[in-house]
């Protein structure tokens, strides 16, 4: 990467400092502006009638009684939207062979999952809308449902889209080396296990929410939207309503968590926008918790049979697995529901030298809620397969799980290189991360403690994971396949007359501190007090065009754009200052909001004085000098498809063998996300991610009845991890900046979620091993642990 060298450790350089988030105080004071806080004149509220069955034919749909209910303004059915909304299909061209059927916002003719919207009531209040929903008469003829993903491809399975002839949505095989030959090798040990990963969902604190206004006079659609990709949604609304993109404005102000849940096209929101256009009135839709569980995308839900062969010295000889995943009746639009399976194929084994690698994934349709990308897409599965098998192999040959990693991890000095699946890797530090982890957890002492406690009948286990995380995606992730998803992001940095600085960025804030790090970067690069920097994100009309925040790209891509823009503005400032002060720009610098003599010299003039000169008294400048004091820069990753990060994590758990309860006693995470912009925010990202990973390992699961009824529809049934059960999570960093940018930041948002499940699973199995038991199904519930122990739950 070219460009001037930056120093990140000077005073007034905020990068790398644990700066408190500016918006934390505002949010804690209850001054947040979430969609549901917003009111619009003549606004109506939407509530949906949803399919009560997993698969059925709509025999009749009678909304007359509902229309007569108090407060009702309109009732709109799926059929009413035909011709109003162009159907959408969740396929991308780079996922060759992926197929999905056209989807409408509400069911037309057939319902294909329980919870699919069928009709929408618009009323003066949400309560009245719900009252009227109860008066809609829906007559359904039940159709046989394909609910079990492992039987969805059976010859006698009901086919959800008859035109496809089967429920197969996509399949891909990666085949590197010669697995079959390797498995016949001499002196190898083969371990084979079946893994099951339950369905999860993101459970955002703020549910999905939208408030849509339509102004027919200007053909203007304004969408307040709790989400993370405003420009993508702008495209989608425009395309599917046949509007010009500039006539759609998508605004995402405060967002109460997203985790990937709010980055997809949901029928509910499209229908709400359609209603706003049809009625000419603002329409608000806020999902309630029932609806969130039933209609937010689900994720994971993989069944994997995998095997690993290792040689006598513990070297991986071959890794081989078959994966099946059920995605619901459609591939989600526009990101598709094949990405998770694709990630599993791409990422499994990526930390290790794997000479022979073969993996197949089958993505199948089924009559359940749609699955798509949720935090750490595919990572928990990929890491659990490889590191689960690796620790089983270590046990089989009597080798310590740390030692077997030492023998297989890619060497820190071996980059750039590719993974077994062909992913380009650079600037990784698996060896350093593992050694730092072992040191920080005091591994030897933990093992001694474990042995001592075993004498007392206390079953502790220690498990590890070495992992990679996909961050800073280039156009190769979505754009190449035709998705309306920007891989580049932009930032505009402007100096105002008062000396304040405005940043406008196309990455978004959904509670993780994006705005704070943009502030840090710009203040630091420009040389101003951080309190003088204001940040605007989440508005398609006022920010540069970009992708938003997902796939851990906000800091690495949005941050780099902000850095470049701040640099460009600083160059302008110094050029102007050099003229006013009659010196050369390279003899000046900016510090604490003033132009100073370079090298820590005296203040020469404040930025406010400089800006006032430019804006008010341009007559004092040479006529050919036309400073703008605003700069925009965009950035995309060009040298790599993704910028991988790496980490090493360990869990210590205690298994109550009488009850099957698992308690995570301790957790350690060493993360290399390149340049750490704000250690406080990164640490909490890692911790939050680990907690979500522990949730996946031990608690969270969307449970269905055999006929496709979702059973976990409240927070009492779907168990999210809670603070009381969480261990201390010890976080440490290695900083190997990526060479793809000046900033050197990689993503940090998903590592914990991606790595923790494997570490916890390995720890549980380490605890169970002396008892001759093992478990490879997540979540590892008490009933499943007891079943693994042969004590109950068969």
């Amino acid at each position: 990467m070219s460009g001037p060298k930056l120093s990140f450790d000077q005073p007034n350089r905020y990068i790398g400092q644990p700066v408190p988030r500016a918006d934390a105080q505002r949010l804690l004071m209850g001054r947040g502006r979430f969609v549901d806080d917003m009111q619009a004149p003549r606004m109506v509220h939407a509530a949906f009638l949803r399919s009560p069955v997993a698969h059925g034919r709509i025999v009749s749909l009678d909304v007359a009684a509902a229309r007569r209910m108090p407060g009702v303004v309109a009732v709109i059915t799926g059929a009413d939207l035909v011709g109003v909304v162009e159907p959408y299909v969740g396929v991308l061209s780079h996922l060759a062979g992926l197929r999905s059927a056209p989807q409408m916002p509400m069911a037309v003719g057939r319902v294909r999952w329980q919870g699919e919207p069928v009709a929408m009531v618009l009323a003066q209040s949400r309560a009245e809308a719900e009252d009227a929903v109860a008066e809609i008469h829906l007559d359904l003829e039940d159709l046989p449902a394909a609910t079990d993903m492992e039987r969805a491809l059976d010859p006698d399975a009901p086919v959800i889209h008859p035109e496809f002839g089967s429920n197969l949505a996509w399949t891909r095989t990666v085949n590197v080396g010669d697995v079959d030959a390797a498995l016949k090798g001499q002196d190898i040990t083969i371990v084979e296990r079946e893994f099951r990963f339950g369905r999860h969902t993101g459970v955002t604190l703020e549910a999905r929410a939208t408030l849509v206004e339509y102004d027919p006079a200007e053909d203007q659609l304004t969408v307040l939207y709790s989400g993370q990709a405003p420009h993508m949604m702008q495209f989608i609304f425009a395309k599917h309503f046949g509007m010009l993109e500039e006539n759609v404005r998508v605004i995402s102000q405060d967002v109460g968590g997203s985790f990937g849940i709010k980055i997809h096209t949901y029928g509910d929101e499209i229908a709400a926008a359609a209603a706003a256009r049809m009625l000419g009135r603002p329409v608000k839709f806020v999902a309630d918790r029932f609806e969130s569980f039933m209609t937010d995308i689900h994720a994971r839900d993989h069944a994997v049979r995998g095997r690993m062969a290792v040689g006598r010295a513990g070297h991986i000889v071959a890794l081989d697995f078959d994966d099946v995943t059920g995605i619901g009746p459609y591939s989600m639009y526009p990101r598709t529901s094949a990405i998770e399976a694709n990630q599993v194929l791409n990422l499994t084994g990526a930390p290790y030298v794997v000479p022979n690698y073969r993996a197949t994934s089958k993505v199948v349709f089924q009559n359940k809620t749609l699955m798509c990308q949720y935090r750490a897409v595919g990572h928990p599965i990929a890491m659990a397969i490889c590191d689960g098998l690796l620790e089983e192999a270590a046990a089989a040959i009597g080798m310590d799980p740390v030692e077997i990693r030492r023998r297989n991890l890619m060497r820190d000095d071996s980059y750039p290189r590719t993974s077994a699946s062909g992913m380009k890797l650079d600037d990784l530090s698996h060896q350093k991360a593992l050694e730092k982890l072992v040191e920080m957890m005091d591994y030897a002492r933990l093992r001694e403690n474990q042995a001592r406690l075993r004498q007392q009948g206390i079953h502790r286990g220690i498990g590890f994971v070495s992992m990679v995380e996909v961050t800073n995606p280039s156009p190769m992730f979505y754009g190449i396949g035709g998705a309306p998803i920007a891989s580049q992001d932009g930032a505009t940095v402007r100096l105002d007359a008062g000396g304040g600085v405005h940043v406008s960025s196309s990455v978004t804030e959904q509670g993780q501190g994006t705005n704070a790090i943009l502030q840090q970067i710009v203040a630091g690069v420009l040389g101003v007090d951080i309190a003088r920097v204001k940040v605007t994100t989440g508005d398609t009309r006022t920010t540069p065009y970009g992708g938003g925040t997902w796939a851990s790209r906000g800091a690495g891509i949005g941050g780099e754009a902000a850095l470049l823009a701040a640099q460009a503005l600083k160059e302008q400032v110094l050029d102007v200052a050099a003229v006013i002060l009659q010196t050369q720009a390279d003899k000046l610098d900016v510090a604490d909001g003033s132009v100073v003599d370079a090298g820590g010299g005296a203040a020469r003039m404040t930025l406010s004085d400089l800006a006032r000169t430019v804006y008010y008294r341009g007559n004092e400048l040479p006529s050919d000098m036309k400073p703008e004091l605003v700069a925009t820069r965009h950035y995309r990753v060009t040298d790599m498809p993704f910028v991988f990060t790496n980490g090493a994590m360990a869990a210590e758990v205690e298994v109550d063998v009488e009850t099957g309860f698992v308690r995570v006693v301790n957790f350690w995470a060493v993360e290399d996300c390149g340049r750490v912009i704000n250690p406080r925010l990164v640490d909490e990202q890692v911790r939050g991610g680990v907690v979500q990973g522990i949730g996946g390992a031990l608690y969270e699961e969307c449970l269905y009845s055999e006929d496709g009824q979702l059973l976990t529809t409240t927070m009492a049934d779907y168990l999210v991890p809670m603070a009381a059960e969480m261990p201390d999570i010890h976080v440490a960093h290695i900083e190997t900046p990526t060479k793809t940018s000046i900033l050197g930041a990689k993503g940090a948002g998903e590592a914990g979620t991606g790595g923790a499940p494997a570490a916890v699973m390995n720890a549980v199995n380490d605890a169970l091993r002396p008892l001759g038991a093992s478990i490879f199904q997540m979540p590892m519930t008490p009933a499943r642990v007891l079943a693994a122990l042969g004590r109950a739950g068969h």
Binding site: S125, R126, A127, E130, D131, A134, D288, R289, F290, E291, E658, T659, G660, F661, Y699, L703, L711, T712, T714, A716, D717, L719, P721, M722, A724, E725, T781, P782, A783, L786, R791, A792, G793, H794
Partner: protein, 282 residues
Amino acid sequence: MKAADFAYRRPADLAGALAILSAEEGDIAPLAGGQSLMPMMNFRIAQPTMLLDLADVAELRGVTAGPDGLRIGAMTRYVQLAADPLVTQGAPLIGLALPHIAHAAIRNRGTIGGSVALADPAAEMPALLLAMAARIELVSLSGRRVVAADDFFLGLYETARAPDELVAAIHIPADASRRRVGFYELARRHGDYAMAGVALTAGGATGQPLASPRIAFFGLSDRAVRATGAEAALKDAQPAGDTLGAAVDSLSALPINGDLHAPPDVKLKLAGVVLRRALAGM
């Protein structure tokens, strides 16, 4: 997730509340702390035609101690139970169990009478009352009657309370303050409804055989249930060895239902574990 339409009344005293309850038509839901009823209404699982808010009914509040034991007003909140020495000394089992009942925010609002009247099979309070041989005082315009806890909890959300009655108070017998107490529950997360839990009381000094044990389980069945087989096995015995084994074995006679997270055999297994652990704590 908005409640269906309902009427709302907030009488100033008990007479007013009972008059409404007896005179008004429809499905009247007395509102105590609202920590279960309000979510059920918002889910539209409960759709009462009228909510009868008891917040102003002073006669339903307060704890008094007498020669027969404690009288705990139905509207006494969990947070007040925990802070009241009359309760923690007169009904130490309640003091032992309270930290496990939901979360602080819920304990701030939830009431003893509300929990008893709702009779959630996974709630702790009905089991505590069974284990203490408590009695439930019901009041209506026709007068007052007192029902033993054993005769009060009839089934899933089903009690001996008639539609025109209110739970007025809980009576804890005087010997509850002297009996040994045990409590143990297994909840996936602190404050959750338990997968299995047990409350028990017994006479006799610590370390001595269990005199007249009363053992009640929750989270297993359609209501809190007495484990009479286990009580018989442990009566006048030390809870150890074969005696304890027999008590645990006797639990297979309990009417155990599975739920979303545990099939019946897991519940039975956990019931044995909680019994052993509760006894070990006595």
